[in-house]
Symmetry: C6
Subunit: 69 residues, 6 copies
């Protein structure tokens, strides 16, 4: 679960990924990575559409980092 | 434990998996994956019936992602 | 720690394992598994007696899933 | 952090390990194990004296299970 | 999520990394390390610019340690 | 995050490490270990100076145990 307040820079940063359809790489706590574009976010999850058009619900508890340009 | 409010898109997304019997793949924080259909969800767990009809109580704390079509 | 409310299906599911002495397999976040019967549960732990009659206090924080018939 | 209420069976179970100097094996989330006797417990930690008389402060957040006779 | 109070030494320490553009090494819970300079922090994340000018949003939940000079 | 109350034995134990400059070994959840002396503690972190005089901010969420003499 994350502190979900649109006043937080981290929540606004993800909001900008959604708005600008920024391609991102999510590094998971399992050392796997997922690449794609974020559709929406809430307290628990990010909804990601991958580069191969797969739909993935990513739990925020599992996120180590997001790399972006 | 998860923020369990049916107003959240992530909770509603899982509700739709239940209603539509959507086949899903759960990626665990252990790097294992489980495939099946969700029967119910609550604050702590998802109840999954696997493709080989096994019953598995999956702790939401252990979920990294859910992949679905 | 878990949301421990006997109104939750997950807590009631474990209550039924206890009542019916259901043999279960606990998959831990460490990728180890433990097999046995649950004696009691609380906010923090499950008390398990294994198939080889060992007593194990299992922390709910370490549980990824429970497989049962 | 753990729900630390002496009304919980899990907290009382550890209290009995302390009182009876029960030799225990702690399985950590790192897959390491520690063996010894518990001196005290609080919200965050167990204080363990190992079989080789080493003093170890074990964080409850890192505990997967405790095996005991 | 972290206890985010500018009264805490740990939050002030990171504030000083930001102000002084201190080069740091972040050790993640996945055993990976990230090197760079912190741009901002909030309850959930640190914003890092790496030595190769990549932008990385690092979740505080994934941080094991920060090494610095 | 940790329950940070100087009434807790675990917080007082660390306070004594600081006061007495006790050499400690921190076992992390990543199976790495760090050796050194604790300078200060708060809700989120311990500040460690290693045996090779490096400064490390250690997140309490990443600590499995502390070994000490």
């Amino acid at each position: 679960m994350t502190a979900f307040d649109t006043g937080f820079p981290s929540v606004r940063q993800i909001q900008s990924f959604i708005k600008n359809k920024t391609p991102i790489e999510i590094g998971l706590m399992t050392n796997k990575t997922l690449e794609g574009v974020v559709k929406w976010q809430d307290q628990n999850c990010l909804s990601l559409v991958t580069t191969s058009q797969e739909k993935i619900l990513v739990w925020i508890q599992a996120i180590a980092y997001i790399r972006y340009r």
